[in-house]
């Protein structure tokens, strides 16, 4: 374990700081409830920062901090032999049941005392030393140190100074003597623990008697290590003898030097030493965004920004060659498609536009033909020339026939080249020529039988042809007979502009 470079002790009246080669001591002013006053905090902050600077310590230096025993509950608990997180859960349950405050309101910690021992009933149990203090006490100190750039871990001063004595791990007894107050900590091998803050040794008479009485009440102590004011030491040892053996451990005076800070340093130097750390519940920990997280997020944001800026360049570097190949391929294919599609479409459109409207022409002629017409010949060609020979009953019918053909808008011109009455004046023989309008115009006319005529008039083109089929094929039978034939130009099922007769 890496030892922290800084050791602190919060006593009632002072804060001691001890680094490797330097130390400092600050006086503390407290409120009535024991918290540091705001003025004291303001005074301490620059001093702490200056000390860190002087000691050459970096920001966020780790520190072990010892707190005095005021308000601290110290107990030994016998628990089932479990370890790790299971032990922490068991201790938490015990705190809930045995301590006056819930674990959430406490800063608490624990460490095992000795090895687990098998019980007569076959179970294995271990002794755990538990310390707890109101979390406000620890948070008060922690916030001060954090503001100064120190990351503290808290323990008890009484347990820290025990490291200076040669004591077994499962038991210790320490006494800190000072004129203001004394602190007696006893962790007995019998599974008992206590931490008491007693009046100071002034005036000596009454206080010494009370102190001796309290120490004797703790039962059989293996050895008592005494720190602090050694002037009362010989008298105390005389009064406690022979039941309790006292050993005085001198502390060389100096800035930041105390039994607690030196004990912390001894603990840090002793490999494998167990330390009881007072932890603040996570939910109560101050929620601040640590600088490393800010750095990390800043780095991510910078990387993201860099990626955004570099993306077009990277895209160009990576995608140019594949895109060029793809574009070339598509250009070849496009030329091929253009050639094929254009050629096929031109050809098909030529086929469509070159088809003469023969059926439509027959339809228009049949619509315009008066009753009794007899056709001898009907000729049409692709150039739109229509020639018709036949006979009508009267000259009026000839004029009417011609007028209707013109009114159909299908023909650009209609010429009756010859009309000759027969010698018996029963008929008029005619020879008629006509010219279709341009195919593009005819296509826009949409000549053909109307939808309502589809039942019978779809075959009207047959009327013109039936007129030439002779008496055996009159128009009516022709229509009836054509009912099974393919219909006329139904796709253009719109009346001609000239109307039907």
């Amino acid at each position: 374990m890496k030892s922290p470079p800084l050791y602190c002790e919060f006593s009632r009246t002072s804060l001691k700081l001890l680094a490797d080669h330097t130390g400092a001591e600050f006086s503390l002013d407290r409120e009535a409830d024991g918290r540091l006053t705001p003025a004291c905090r303001e005074r301490l902050l620059p001093g702490l920062r200056q000390f860190l600077h002087t000691a050459g310590l970096p920001a966020k230096s780790a520190a072990w901090c010892a707190i005095d025993g005021r308000g601290v509950a110290l107990r030994c608990l016998r628990l089932p032999a479990v370890s790790g997180e299971a032990l922490a859960r068991v201790v938490r349950l015990q705190i809930e049941s045995e301590f006056p405050l819930p674990p959430e309101a406490l800063a608490w910690g624990f460490r095992s005392l000795g090895e687990p021992q098998r019980q007569p009933d076959g179970s294995t149990q271990q002794t755990v030393l538990v310390a707890a203090v109101k979390k406000e006490v620890v948070e008060d100190y922690a916030s001060l140190l954090a503001a100064a750039g120190i990351a503290p871990a808290f323990t008890l001063a009484a347990l820290a100074r025990a490291a200076l004595g040669n004591q077994p791990p499962d038991g210790c007894a320490t006494l800190e003597l000072s004129p203001a107050e004394c602190e007696l900590a006893v962790v007995g091998p019998q599974g008992t623990a206590s931490l008491r803050v007693l009046p100071g040794l002034e005036p000596a008479g009454t206080a010494m008697d009370f102190l001796v009485k309290v120490i004797r009440s703790q039962g059989l102590l293996p050895k008592l290590y005494v720190f602090g004011d050694h002037r009362a030491g010989p008298e105390l040892a005389r009064q406690l003898a022979p039941e309790v053996a006292c050993e005085f451990i001198p502390i060389n005076p100096g800035p930041g030097r105390s039994s607690a800070t030196l004990g912390l340093r001894e603990l840090a130097a002793r490999p494998g030493s167990q330390r009881l750390t007072l932890g603040v519940p996570i939910a109560a920990a101050p929620k601040t965004l640590a600088p490393p997280a800010l750095m990390e997020w800043g780095l991510r944001a910078a990387l993201l920004l860099l990626a955004v800026l570099l993306f077009p360049v990277l895209e160009a570097l990576i995608m140019t060659a594949p895109l060029a190949a793809k574009v070339n391929t598509f250009q070849d294919r496009a030329r091929q498609v253009e050639t094929t599609v254009d050629r096929d479409l031109d050809f098909l459109q030529y086929v469509k536009q070159s088809q003469p409207p023969c059926l439509e022409s027959l339809y228009v002629i049949s619509q315009a033909a008066p009753s009794g017409i007899h056709l001898d010949s009907l000729t049409m060609n692709r150039r739109g020339e229509v020639a018709l020979r036949g006979s009508l009953r009267t000259g009026d019918q000839v004029a009417e026939f011609r007028s209707k053909l013109m009114a159909s808008s299908f023909f650009a011109s209609v010429t009756v080249e010859e009309q000759t009455p027969t010698p018996d004046h029963q008929k008029v023989n005619i020879r008629l020529t006509a010219q279709w309008k341009a195919l593009s115009v005819l296509q826009s006319l949409a000549v053909g039988p109307a939808v309502k005529e589809s039942g019978d008039a779809t075959n009207r083109p047959g009327e013109a042809a039936s007129a030439m089929a002779g008496p055996g094929a009159s128009a009516k039978p022709a229509l009836g007979g054509a009912a099974t034939a393919p219909p006329g130009p139904q796709t253009n099922a719109v009346k001609p502009p000239g109307g039907t007769n």
Partner: protein
Amino acid sequence: MRALSAQEKRTIRYASIGIGIYLVLFGGYAMGGALHRRTAAYQQLLTAAADLKQQLKPYDDRGLMAEKLMKQFQLDPAKLSRATVVGEASAQLQKAAASSGIQVGPIRESTTKASARELATLQFEGSGPIAAILGLFQRLQTLGYPVIVDAVQITPDPMRPGQIKLNLTLVILDFDQWKKEDKSHA
């Protein structure tokens, strides 16, 4: 070797910094220019791809239109063979006429000028009832061959009352002429 004086060290340091700055600036400028050229070329490619897309966009419609006409005429120009199209069209015409109920008469075939877009001319004669004649007209467009009616003559059939006689002149188009046009355009 003689130890450098502080002034010489400072001069060397400044010179090194200056050369370093020059190299960074020059290298950055050169690299920036290369990257800019590459990016510009990529943008040109993107523009070419967009133009190609625009160029091909009308061919969606033209392709659909060609497909519609192919369905309408039941004609696929790619399958037409110049060597066999006349014979196949003639056979198909006779088949359509017979199935329409027309009594097929003589059929005459003549070639046309090579320079024209027409491959051959068919003269068809037949007779039948009116409905059959109209049906044949209707089927001419769906023979599956590029056949265009050149001339029609309808007369009564004196031998069979109630029947009419049809004299039909058809032109068969030469698709290869369109291919040649494309090549000449290319």
